[in-house]
């Protein structure tokens, strides 16, 4: 199972400036866990200490919102995850 994760620009300093990463998993949660395994510094930018997704992080699977129950959302080989962060500047 290979899933491509698009990393938000603001997080790329934590992924060696990689814009994408290849991860494995059958759910969004497993894929993000694999991403954290590869880039441990990203964990605190995605999750609360209790392991919940931070409320300003949004995950899209093949450009569709995975909300609610994001972490349990199933994914399949070839899917693309996008990690986005809320922005509020004007």
């Amino acid at each position: 199972m290979s899933i491509t994760v698009n990393i938000h620009q603001a997080l790329r300093q934590l992924t060696n400036n990689q814009a994408t990463a290849e991860v494995n998993g059958t759910t969004v949660g497993q894929c993000l866990a694999d991403l954290v395994r590869q880039f441990p510094g990203i964990e605190s930018k995605l999750f609360t200490k209790q392991g919940k997704l931070l409320n300003y992080v949004d995950i899209y699977v093949n450009q569709e919102s995975s909300y609610p129950e994001e972490l349990a959302k199933p994914v399949k080989d070839g899917d693309k995850l996008s990690i986005t962060l809320m922005i509020a500047g004007g």
């Binding site: 620009q9 409320n55 609610p68 996008s82 922005i87 509020a88 004007g90």
Partner: protein
């Protein structure tokens, strides 16, 4: 009815089959509320004024600072220290005296928002913080006014159009809060997003094209990529949902 001067001024857009004289008259009859006269509000207000919107109410509480001038193109060097809405209104009136520009120098609050948006047909979100965006979203839903969201950060921008009762609202998409902060930005980013918001407003008023509803447009200027993320109306949404989520 358009005057002879208006027919001349808007000649090139009246030529558009999608707009024509009928569409131009719709623009003339429309009243648009723009929340914020900064990076997004500047291009949105300029292009809506140029297009011949009948009335624009521009609300902002801030004064022009030198550090605004890299992106807030309605404000120039000699406006530093001046109220943003006065500075903006002066330029907009000079650009198109046919448009009624109402400059409101106020902070948008929960208490005054219904009064501020009263009489407006559309709301443009050109704010710089999420808290006020949520207030605007709720007011738009409560008053059944279409809402045109935009936001930027650095080289990235987002836009989304919300039709109350029909499409996903801002709160369906964003549930969290982020602290108000000094954000990095280069002027070309809000220029693009503000113009997209103005385009959506024009399309909605005239009744043409496909709107950015149920999708969040993401603009990545560094890679010059536009991505549409599909979003859905959330039945449990705090602002527009009809169901209550179990705690």
């Amino acid at each position: 009815m358009l005057t002879a001067d208006e027919r001349e001024r808007y000649d090139r857009q009246i030529m558009l089959r999608e707009i024509g004289e009928e569409g131009q008259e719709k623009l003339k009859r429309a009243s648009v509320f723009i929340a914020g006269a900064g990076g997004l509000g500047s291009p949105a207000a300029i292009y809506l004024t140029a297009a011949g919107i009948g009335r624009i109410r521009l609300v902002d509480h801030d004064r022009v600072d030198r550090s605004n001038l890299n992106r807030q193109i309605l404000h120039w060097n000699n406006d530093i220290g001046r109220s943003k809405v006065d500075s903006a209104a002066e330029k907009l009136k000079r650009l198109n005296p046919e448009v009624q520009i109402e400059a409101v120098n106020k902070t948008i609050t929960k208490a005054n928002l219904s009064q501020l948006v009263a009489g407006s047909d559309l709301i443009v979100d050109a704010m710089d913080n999420l808290e006020t965006r949520y207030l605007l979203n709720k007011a738009a839903l409560d008053n059944d006014i279409p809402f045109f969201h935009g936001a930027i950060y650095g080289f990235e921008g987002r836009a989304m159009t919300i039709i109350p009762g029909k499409t996903a609202c801002l709160r369906c998409v964003y549930r969290g809060v982020i602290p108000e902060e000094k954000f990095p930005v280069i002027g070309v980013t809000p220029a693009v997003i503000g113009c997209i918001q103005a385009t959506e407003v024009i399309k909605y008023i005239v009744g043409i094209g496909e709107l950015l509803t149920d999708k969040l447009l993401n603009y990545d200027a560094l890679n010059m990529e536009f991505t549409e993320f599909k979003v859905k109306k959330d039945p449990y949404c705090e602002h527009c949902g009809h169901m209550k989520r179990k705690e």
